[in-house]
């Protein structure tokens, strides 16, 4: 077992990425996530977390925290039961077999990001995490790599996407992408390519 954990794990074949500057903070993604996985709408059970404040200026007012499907998933390595594992049958996603989770929360402690991308379900005493909608008992769509993701599909601003390209693993920047085009700028918002729009004449 110890030898296995030291071995390099295969890379995931799909990654959720986000454009925090395009997010409007409606948290539809969070509600959809908990809905398709748990049958309830609950920000506390969402695998994606939108953290925002009304009293900081753009763009510091909103950040999107999503599971990175890390190339080196320390959460997998921290799990003492093997519940958190690499699902080689489904694109090497890092997923939790909730029936095998003993609720020790070591994966949460091991996650190097803040807030931790693994979610504590206090009602069931298990850890849950993003599986790119591989297992969604309350949604009649197929998820996982090449499938649909509830958070991506519901976002009114189209601020989330899935890519097969491994994002830069240093920090969160590799997971922050620019999904804004000329139509966004036409609305009076900025795109990073063009900077601040000129005022309307």
């Amino acid at each position: 077992m110890a030898t296995e954990k030291k071995a390099k794990l295969p890379l995931a074949e799909a990654y959720l990425v986000a454009d925090p500057k395009k997010c409007a903070g409606c948290i539809a993604c969070m509600l959809a996530c908990s809905l398709v996985h748990e049958g309830v709408t609950s920000p506390s059970l969402s695998r994606i977390q939108i953290v925002q404040t009304s009293f900081k200026p753009f763009p510091e007012d909103i950040d999107i925290h999503l599971c990175r499907q890390c190339a080196n998933p320390v959460c997998v390595k921290a799990c003492p039961t093997g519940a958190l594992h690499v699902d080689t049958a489904h694109g090497n996603l890092r997923v939790i077999d909730e029936s095998a989770c003993d609720g020790c929360r070591k994966c949460i402690e091991a996650c190097p990001f803040q807030p931790a991308r693994i979610v504590w379900d206090a009602g069931r005493n298990v850890c849950v995490k993003c599986d790119l909608c591989l297992d969604t008992p309350y949604w009649d769509e197929q998820g996982g790599p090449g499938g649909k993701q509830a958070c991506v599909d519901v976002c009114p601003m189209r601020a989330l996407a899935v890519t097969s390209k491994v994002p830069n693993q240093k920090g969160d920047e590799g997971y922050r992408v620019n999904l804004r085009n000329e139509h966004w700028e036409w609305l009076g918002f900025m795109t990073d390519q063009t900077g601040t729009p000129e005022p309307q004449k």
Binding site: K21, K22, A24, C26, I27, A28, L31, A32, L35, V36, E38, G39, V40, T41, S42, P43, S44, Q49, V51, Q52, T53, S54, F55, K56, P57, F58, P59, D61, I62, H65, P115, A116, V119, W120, A122, G123, Y138, W139, D140, A150, D153, V154, P156, M157, R158, L179, N181, H183, W184, W186, L187, G188, F189, M190, T196, P197, E198, P199, Q200, K201
Partner: protein, 708 residues
């Protein structure tokens, strides 16, 4: 408990510090929001003729079955009770606000809050799931709404943000949702608002003052629970259906504004970030209330004016341009860069004023009108230094940021005429001895119960009729959006109306269940089928019933619902009447159809009518001021009319309402509703038909039951 509901309502007595709960199931037949609030007020406010500042006033803050779920634009929160702003009677009334408060309340396990009594000292209420505590508000008293919220956030979570915060029942990364008052509410202003986050305001009604009178500074709520949904897959399908067919596609829009950065165009194409007058002079994002795909607000890189929309931003817009713009143009603006700087300066000035309003907690609509009213009185020579109404405001700087900020400070601190204006423009006018004259001339355009006219009461009559028959400006944009706002904005944008008058009324008449098939419901002419006809009885009844159930009880926002026309949809056909019950049924599983919802709306309308009857309402009081009957419309106000065999948008210039015909219309309307045409009171037969026998019994015992 039915899916969609938390199952219990929090009951707080500020005088005794008792904390109790009510089973939501007792009130489930009312839907939620307004319906539940009215029913609870009926049951718990024993003397309904008390004033808004009386400790016996019962204030309800109700969420809805859809709040906190994945339903578009459904997170409104309804506030009800005796509203101190009302004049001459402080009627039982309502206000509402968006944001995330209603959702957090449900995640904490509560469908609503009932507030009774008066605290003997400043207090705030801390709700974290089932744990509810009264906290001293002494050190929050005097703080503005932003300071208050930030302070409470820190106290509730020990300053732990941007990480999981854990309580016994679960974890959250979300900040507590706080509803609070600023200094205006503390000083018992009748135009004080309740503020949540940056600029979600329950403005009309004066409930900020009602909070102040109860010594209640704030309510904070944080929840870690969830809302059980009857059919999660159906709810997902419904959201995706709405997104695919009605939502503005920000990456590839079907109908883009003809000019870039045209905020007002959102009314036509539902584009995000549009309900603001901010030009694109600095980096910004659209910002949405919870689960709203429209996202009508914005947040900017300066942070100035963030989240403010509509009146708080339009007020400075109209007058600052003239005051500041003339100064700038005198110096000459020679190039694009200088113009950009000027626009930025003006925008920031506007939004600083909006911020000040939100932070002090003032109903922006009243300030908007006070500004113009004061200038009118100054111009007539009755207000100013050494004038009959003494005032040292610098009218030579009227319209400037300085003028506006001084005016706001005077109102908040209740200095000089600010003390009068803190009572609302109507009461100020009465105190100054101007009310009769200015209501006759229209200088003071307050046609119903101490509230501004909003839209022209001589033309958009289902709004004015509905307002005078209820208790305030109904502020219900459902019909207005398609009948007036969209055609007007298309004209201003320099494009053809997206629909002709005939197409507009045809679409409406197909969708207004249960009165479908009658396009003359939308004839705003003065002919036999027009504004004094039985058609308008149906239009008024439809608007009140829709609003009271689908909007104010189910929790939909009227910038999205009803959805009659949608520029993102094939054939421009909006989601009404399919959309409203589709989401409600997916969440609750109750199968309440659109028509059934309208019938619940009728029940709520009758209960509200019974409450104001107990407060002393009689049809003889339901009259408009003189300007409505005698001052002709002098600005184009296009609305559909049917003339000479065809539909067209008429400017309706020169229109006055006919007082006699309006009285006849009231009779016709009361008969339509099954109310006594002599008094306007509900009858026993109507109330019993609606399952309100107990209401009929009370009205009868108080001598306020309609005959017939």
């Amino acid at each position: 408990m039915i899916c969609g509901y938390a199952g219990k309502i929090l009951r707080l007595n500020l005088a005794t510090r008792e904390i109790g709960s009510i089973d939501t199931g007792q009130y489930a037949a009312w839907g939620g929001g307004h319906g539940m609030g009215s029913a609870i007020f009926w049951d718990l406010c024993r003397d309904k003729a008390v004033t808004g500042f009386d400790p016996r006033n019962v204030v309800t803050i109700m969420s809805s079955p859809l709040a906190g779920t994945l339903s578009p634009a459904s997170s409104r929160c309804e506030v009800q009770g005796i509203g101190p702003q009302g004049y001459p009677v402080e009627w039982f009334t309502w206000s509402s606000f968006g944001g995330r408060f209603a959702a957090q309340l449900k995640y904490a396990g509560w469908d609503g809050i009932v507030i009774e009594g008066r605290s003997d000292a400043p207090v705030w209420v801390n709700i974290v799931n089932d744990c509810v505590t009264f906290e001293s508000g002494a050190d929050l008293w005097g703080k503005d709404t932003r300071e208050t919220q930030q302070e409470i956030w820190g106290r509730v979570t020990s300053g732990q943000f941007n990480d999981w915060y854990e309580v016994e029942a679960g974890c959250t990364t979300q900040r507590p949702a706080v509803l609070c008052i600023g200094q205006a509410g503390e000083r018992l202003s009748r135009i004080a608002a309740l503020i949540h986050d940056g600029a979600n305001a329950a403005g009309q009604g004066g409930f900020g003052g009602a909070f102040g009178a109860k010594n209640l500074k704030a309510i904070s709520v944080m929840g870690t629970g969830g809302i059980r949904v009857a059919d999660p897959a159906a709810l997902m399908r419904s959201w995706l259906w709405y997104r695919a067919n009605f939502n503005y596609n920000v990456d590839a829009p079907l109908l883009e504004s003809p000019k870039p950065n045209s905020p007002g165009f959102y009314s036509i194409n539902s584009s995000p970030g549009g309900a603001v007058v901010l030009k694109g002079v600095e980096p910004s994002r659209p910002y949405a209330c919870q689960a709203c795909p429209l996202a009508c607000h914005r947040r900017t890189s300066s942070g100035i004016g963030d989240e403010s929309t509509c009146m708080p931003t339009m007020w400075p817009f109209y007058t600052l341009l003239s005051a500041e713009g003339s100064e700038e143009s005198a110096g000459g603006v020679s190039d694009a860069h200088a113009k950009a700087l000027r626009a930025l300066k003006l925008t920031r000035a506007r939004y600083r004023v909006a911020d000040m309003l939100q932070r002090c907690g003032i109903n922006a609509y009243e300030l908007c009108i006070a500004d113009a009213y004061l200038l009118g009185l100054f111009s007539e020579g009755v207000l100013g230094q050494d004038k009959p109404i003494p005032c040292d405001l610098p009218f030579e700087r009227w319209g400037s940021e300085e003028f506006k900020q001084r005016l706001i400070r005077m109102i908040v601190e209740r200095r000089g005429i600010g003390d009068d204006l803190a009572e609302g423009n109507t009461r100020a006018s009465v105190k100054w001895g101007r009310y009769e004259e200015d209501s006759e001339s229209g200088l003071l355009s307050y046609p119903y119960w101490g509230y501004y006219e909003h839209y022209d009461p001589r033309i958009e009559v289902e709004w004015s009729y509905g307002s005078i028959l209820s208790s305030r400006d109904t502020n219900d944009h459902g019909l207005n959006m398609v009948l007036y706002t969209i055609p007007r904005l298309a004209r201003e944008a320099g494009i053809e109306p997206i629909l002709s008058a005939e197409q507009t009324v045809e679409i409406l008449s197909q969708k207004v269940i249960p009165y479908t098939g009658d396009p003359f419901m939308f004839d705003y002419g003065q002919g036999p089928a027009g504004i004094y006809s039985g058609n308008k009885a149906k239009t008024t009844a439809w608007a009140r019933r829709y609003t009271l159930f689908w909007k104010d009880s189910v929790g939909y926002c009227d910038l999205v619902w009803p959805s009659f026309v949608n520029a993102n949809a094939p054939g421009m056909l909006g989601a009404t009447p399919e959309g409203e019950p589709r989401f409600l049924d997916a969440v609750t599983g109750q199968g309440i159809g659109f028509a059934n919802g309208m019938e619940i709306g009728r029940r709520i309308w009758n209960l509200d009518r019974a409450i104001v009857a107990l407060q002393g309402r009689h049809r003889d009081m339901e009259v408009f001021p003189g300007y409505v009957f005698r001052q002709p419309v002098n600005r184009p106000f296009p609305f559909p009319v049917y003339e000479n065999g065809e539909w067209r948008f008429s400017d309706n210039l020169g229109r006055t309402l006919d007082a006699g015909k309006f009285e006849e219309w009231k009779t016709l309307y009361f008969e339509f509703e099954g109310w006594d045409p002599r008094s306007g009171w509900p009858t026993r037969g109507t109330l019993e038909e609606l399952g309100l026998t107990h209401v009929a019994d009370t009205l009868e015992s108080e001598g306020r039951l309609g005959r017939g």
